[in-house]
């Protein structure tokens, strides 16, 4: 295991950037808490996977990205998209199956994208993006741009065979793709100890001759620094890195499972409470910003209410959006 070592000046993050990072974390939290309310009312077709408790991973990582870097997400991707600047009303409309959504209301939570922002989207297949991200890196390498690709995946996904094929090839060809494993310690109901023979996922980097970092996923700046270093390395033509971010999801696997009787019996209540109390990344970051003198209770409340307002506006947009037209089922299948 390589614990990611801090180097450089963490203060390259300006006050404005830090506050913007905080705002984006809150924005994700508000959005997903709102989604859960919609789900309770049966307004979300299918389901969705919220990332409450994992906001520092999405925000830290995306803050390190360049404007034209590609992002490949997972089934748990609302946060990745929002952190990267995708428009909340469009995302909400999609999750609710409305025509104004990014996939015309046909994809939902597991098929979100924002092509203009180089966000390729969430994926309903666990591990489905790992190879795709390698291929994006390959294209960027061939096109000789200085863009890179960031690929999120989970601890569960790390045990799919594609993980091996993709990381081997990405390293062999030194493509500019950064692999970020959000290890939230569960894959659906399966705890890490029943999931990974070696629970140190970052250690696998050795097998591919690439750097492997393990980072505290409750520390948004630590995530930022590790991903920034990995992206920098990718841009220098040195190939991929594996960044494992230790995190925890504070809600159930999916909104649907959260509503199922016994749907959370696979983990101790106490464990959730502990993370909720002492390892809530938003609380931790807020504390840090206060210590730096960048935030007060008032300014925190202001950010919160602004995010709530933003969500209300998104709700208004999504709810007033039309249903997709029947003939739209034929769209986008062939070019």
């Amino acid at each position: 295991m390589t614990n990611y070592e801090r180097k450089g000046n963490r203060m390259e993050l300006t006050k404005d950037t830090l506050l913007d990072m905080y705002r984006r974390m809150v924005r994700i939290r508000i959005f997903e808490e709102g989604l859960m309310k919609f789900d309770e009312q049966g307004l979300i077709p299918g389901t969705g996977h919220v990332s409450i408790g994992e906001e520092a991973v999405a925000v830290g990582a995306t803050t390190a990205m360049g404007n034209k870097d590609y992002l490949v997400s997972t089934h748990r991707g609302h946060g990745h998209l929002l952190a990267r600047g995708a428009k909340m009303p469009i995302i909400l409309a999609e999750v609710l199956g409305k025509a104004t959504g990014c996939t015309g209301g046909k994809g939902g939570s597991m098929h979100l994208s924002d092509f203009d922002r180089y966000i390729l989207g969430t994926n309903g297949i666990v591990g489905g993006g790992i190879n795709i991200a390698g291929g994006i890196g390959l294209a960027l390498q061939m096109q000789k741009t200085d863009q890179a690709c960031l690929c999120f995946f989970g601890d569960g996904a790390s045990n799919r065979g594609v993980f091996h094929e993709a990381l081997n090839l990405a390293s062999l060809w030194k493509v500019p793709t950064v692999y970020l494993c959000c290890n939230n310690q569960y894959a659906m109901t399966l705890p890490l100890c029943k999931n990974c023979a070696n629970q140190d996922i970052s250690a696998r980097a050795v097998a591919y001759d690439i750097p492997g970092y393990q980072v505290d996923g409750t520390d948004v700046i630590a995530v930022y620094e590790a991903v920034a270093a990995a992206l920098q390395r990718a841009r220098e033509g040195k190939g991929p890195s594996l960044v494992e971010v230790i995190s925890y999801r504070l809600r159930g696997h999916s909104m649907r499972m959260d509503r199922m009787p016994g749907g959370s019996s696979y983990r101790p209540e106490r464990e959730i409470e502990e993370w909720e109390e002492s390892k809530n990344p938003i609380k931790i970051f807020q504390q840090k910003l206060k210590e730096l003198g960048y935030m007060t209770d008032e300014s925190a409340t202001k950010i919160l209410s602004e995010c709530q307002k933003e969500f209300r506006e998104a709700v208004e947009f999504a709810q007033n959006s039309p249903e997709p037209k029947p003939e739209s089922i034929y769209e986008w299948i062939y070019a």
Binding site: C102, N123, N131, I132, M142, Q143, V162, W332, I333
Partner: protein
């Protein structure tokens, strides 16, 4: 001057070479396809022509080959990849079916997913049941894919060029029995459009629809039938998805009888789809039940005699024709 004759494998290599020359965004990758020019010699000369940056040998990583191709396509490239054998397409079905075929839809119709997946298909050379299968029906079942299966060097070259220029994922299936077969191929640039069937032989008594490696055998059968006074029309759809059903139906309306022949297992083979569409569109014209010729529901054995029994030849086609004449 006699028409230029080249082998099927050379037609494939020429098509890739011409298209890679035309379009800088194209590149080729797959297992053992660069240095030695592929397990079937169908990519010979490409490495020398374009170098390692555009012609790459990959590790034995079928999911990565297709998944990387998809990623590259999303970022604006036009990859031409090879999965050495159709049997191994099963290994990367997620990348093909869940990812590549659906990516355009899931990104709101934005990117062109210009990926060509070439693969050697069918049997006939004694390689047994994991090296002789033909899964065209697996892929025709999937919206978002196009499926092409040529039976002559001319069609192979023209269709592959069209597939490479197409903005959608194309599964390009090359019957391995045909790699060495020669036929006329013009030296000039041409494409064979996807989705257009070819009437390989005109006739008035019966329609035989056939694709892939069995097609030359069907042409032989048609000759034998002609010697007996039976005038068969042979249609090769060449592209199975989208299927040019109009050409097939027009023929059936003329002949009132149809036989469909393919090498894949008959049960749930693509022949069932063709038969269903014929009866939907031309039931009143049919004078007899549609006949299907395909492999029985067994595995392809390596023993030469057994393999010949399993994979349908001209006799089986003739039998099927005579059963309804």
């Amino acid at each position: 001057m006699a028409e230029r004759q080249i082998a099927f494998r050379e037609a494939i290599a020429e098509a890739i070479k011409e298209e890679m020359t035309r379009d800088e965004k194209t590149f080729a990758m797959g297992e053992d396809m660069a240095v030695i020019g592929g397990a079937f010699g169908a990519t010979k000369g490409l490495l020398e022509e374009f170098g390692e940056e555009r012609v790459m040998d990959t590790p034995i990583s079928e999911t990565a080959i297709v998944g990387f191709a998809l990623g590259a396509a999303i970022a604006g490239m036009r990859p031409i990849v090879e999965i050495m054998r159709c049997d191994w397409m099963t290994i990367c079905m997620d990348e093909i079916v869940n990812q590549t075929a659906k990516m355009r839809y899931f990104t709101g119709g934005r990117p062109q997913i210009a990926v060509v997946i070439r693969t050697a298909t069918e049997g006939g050379i004694g390689l047994g049941a994991q090296h002789s299968q033909s899964f065209e029906a697996w892929f025709t079942h999937v919206p978002g894919l196009k499926v092409v299966m040529p039976s002559t060097p001319y069609d192979a070259k023209g269709l592959l060029k069209a597939a490479i220029r197409d903005h959608n994922p194309v599964i390009f299936m090359e019957p391995q029995i045909l790699y060495g077969a020669s036929g006329p191929v013009p030296a000039e640039d041409y494409v064979v459009p996807l989705g257009k069937a070819d009437v390989k032989r005109e006739g008035k008594d019966i329609t035989i629809v056939a694709w892939g490696g069995i097609t030359p055998r069907v042409m032989n059968a048609a000759q034998t039938l002609a010697d007996e006074g039976i005038d068969a029309e042979v249609i090769d759809p060449r592209t199975l998805r989208p299927l040019d059903i109009e050409t097939i139906v027009a023929s059936v309306k003329k002949t009132s009888k149809a036989v469909i022949a393919h090498e894949a297992n008959k049960t749930s083979g693509f022949g069932a789809e063709v038969a269903a569409q014929i009866q939907e569109l031309a039931f009143d014209y049919l004078d007899a039940p549609i006949q299907r010729v395909g492999a029985p529901d067994v595995l392809v054995p390596i023993n030469r005699n057994l393999e010949r029994i399993v994979l349908p030849g001209p006799e089986r086609v003739i039998e099927a024709v005579k059963a309804i004449l």
